[in-house]
């Protein structure tokens, strides 16, 4: 049987503890400062690159053909919105092609420009999906989200992701590309980024209100 013995517990003084804590805090601050000034993450270049999530990209980083396609899709979206405002319905891909609106009407200046375009409606989501005819080429998607009539009207924000119809309805719009056009399903899901689509920006996600 072991003998009972006294143990003296010497607690560190509050002053010494504070000094230890301050030293640790200074070491943490210095470490973070070194890290931030030598940030190893590749996307830390300019302000635009820093504001993007992994499934987003700026069109300036794409080849010139893709940049041209992006611009054409931006313009064709405005044309489609004009028809939607005037006629109350979104034009299908055949109508846009017949009207000579590129890229629905083939642009001879674009290499690999053979695409099969389709307009797909799913409740409030309107998709213009371009599937490449050549294997290995990228696919394109223009997605428009119509306003929910059950909700109060949304405040319009002047940026790449919002457009307005003539009646004042605010649309959410986005342009996406998929590097492997042969692998995409016939219809993009509610979250295109979950299926490998990359959302493209010309100027990046704009600052919004909180």
């Amino acid at each position: 049987m072991s003998a009972v013995h006294d143990v003296e517990i010497a607690a560190v003084s509050a002053r010494d503890e504070l000094i230890h804590v301050l030293r640790a805090a200074m070491a943490i601050t210095a470490g973070v400062w070194l890290y931030v000034t030598n940030n190893p993450f590749p996307s830390s270049g300019n302000a635009l690159q820093r504001s993007l999530l992994p499934f987003q990209a700026t069109v300036a980083t794409l080849p010139s053909d893709s940049q041209l396609m992006f611009r054409e899709l931006q313009v064709s979206l405005i044309e489609a919105e004009t028809i939607r405002s005037a006629e109350g319905a979104w034009p299908d891909a055949a109508r846009l092609r017949a009207d000579g609106i590129e890229p629905f009407a083939p642009n001879p200046a674009l290499k690999n420009s053979a695409y099969e375009w389709a307009m797909l409606l799913d409740q409030r989501i309107v998709d213009y999906l371009g599937r490449p005819k050549q294997p290995g080429a990228q696919a394109w998607l223009v997605r428009v989200l119509e306003p929910d009539p059950a909700l109060p009207p949304e405040v319009f924000v002047e940026d790449e992701e919002h457009d307005r119809l003539l009646d004042g309805s605010v649309l959410h719009v986005s342009i996406w590309t998929h590097p492997d056009g042969a692998a995409i399903p016939a219809r993009a899901g509610p979250l295109p980024q979950a299926e490998g689509w990359i959302q493209l920006y010309a100027a990046g996600p704009a600052g919004g209100t909180f």
Binding site: I9, F41, R50, F55, Q193, F210
Partner: protein, 293 residues
């Protein structure tokens, strides 16, 4: 990592894995859950025993402020780790020091820090809206697998290993100190050191899990697994084992729900872990009744 994703995709094509595993983000998410479950599950029973649930909530929200500070210092939106680690570690040191030396109850003091960091974070986020679309920060608040990158996964594995090694080294002392600080001191453990030590490894674990679970919800995964385990565990060892199992089931289940229903991962994981808690609660009550009959 690409060969791993291709291999998993080929298994998914052959029907060996669920079809969702053709997407790299889901494989990354599953690997994150595999790493997070033992870390957070392993820590959770100590969090509950040391009564640090509110401390964990305050840390999760401090991370939001850390994100804002990181972005203000020029870090990328997708990896503001300098700001998060730095601010959370400093907040942790301050909270533990004040808690140890102030005469106010610990929950009151943590409440003060909680309010301070949240207020600061909101002000900084509003200032940030000049540079960033604040919706982009939602993934940090609620967790999103789609924003988890290979670099995040590697960081998670690295920190997970570090935390596991440190935890195994000091586990017995920590457990004794959690149950009885005077007894731990008599046995030679430095109670003050252990308090700071545990708070720091908890902070590291919370910060690396934020992108998957989210700042607002991370508290749940460091508290509820232990609470659920306590309903069914019969010993300290089974308490630890059950905590890890519950964290894994909740993580994997939440991941599946989040992928199928397209809801934020953090919310789905928290719903899953809460569901498991109520199941174990019922199972515990049933087992006790059977023993008394």
């Amino acid at each position: 990592m690409t060969p791993l994703y291709q291999w998993a995709a080929s298994l998914a094509e052959r029907g060996i894995l669920p079809s969702d595993f053709q997407y790299p983000f889901l494989i990354r998410g599953f690997l994150c859950v595999l790493v997070l479950a033992p870390i957070l599950g392993g820590l959770s029973h100590l969090v509950v025993t040391r009564r640090m649930a509110f401390f964990s909530a305050a840390l999760g929200q401090a991370a939001l402020t850390g994100v804002a500070i990181g972005l203000l210092f020029g870090e990328p939106l997708n990896a503001p780790y300098g700001g998060m680690f730095g601010f959370c570690l400093l907040t942790t040191l301050a909270m533990v020091y004040v808690k140890r030396h102030a005469t106010l109850p610990p929950d009151t003091l943590i409440g003060v820090f909680h309010a301070l960091t949240l207020g600061l974070g909101l002000c900084l986020l509003v200032a940030l809206t000049r540079q960033f679309n604040v919706h982009q920060v939602e993934s940090v608040l609620f967790g999103s697998l789609l924003t988890v990158t290979d670099a995040d996964l590697l960081l998670l594995v690295g920190v997970g290993l570090l935390v596991a090694i440190l935890l195994v080294r000091e586990y017995n002392k920590l457990l004794l100190d959690s149950l009885s600080p005077p007894l731990a001191s008599v046995s030679g453990a430095d109670s003050a050191f252990l308090e700071y030590f545990f708070a720091v490894i908890l902070t590291l674990s919370i910060v690396v899990s934020l992108k998957v679970i989210g700042a607002l919800l991370v508290e749940a995964l460091v508290v509820v697994p232990a609470a659920a385990a306590r309903n069914v565990a019969g010993s300290a060892r089974s308490y630890l084992a059950w905590s890890i199992v519950v964290a894994f089931l909740a993580g994997a289940g939440g991941l599946g729900v989040s992928t199928k229903l397209l809801v934020p991962t953090g919310g789905a994981v928290v719903l899953a872990v809460s569901g498991i808690f109520f199941i174990t609660l019922a199972a515990g009550v049933y087992a006790r009744r059977r023993r008394t009959i």
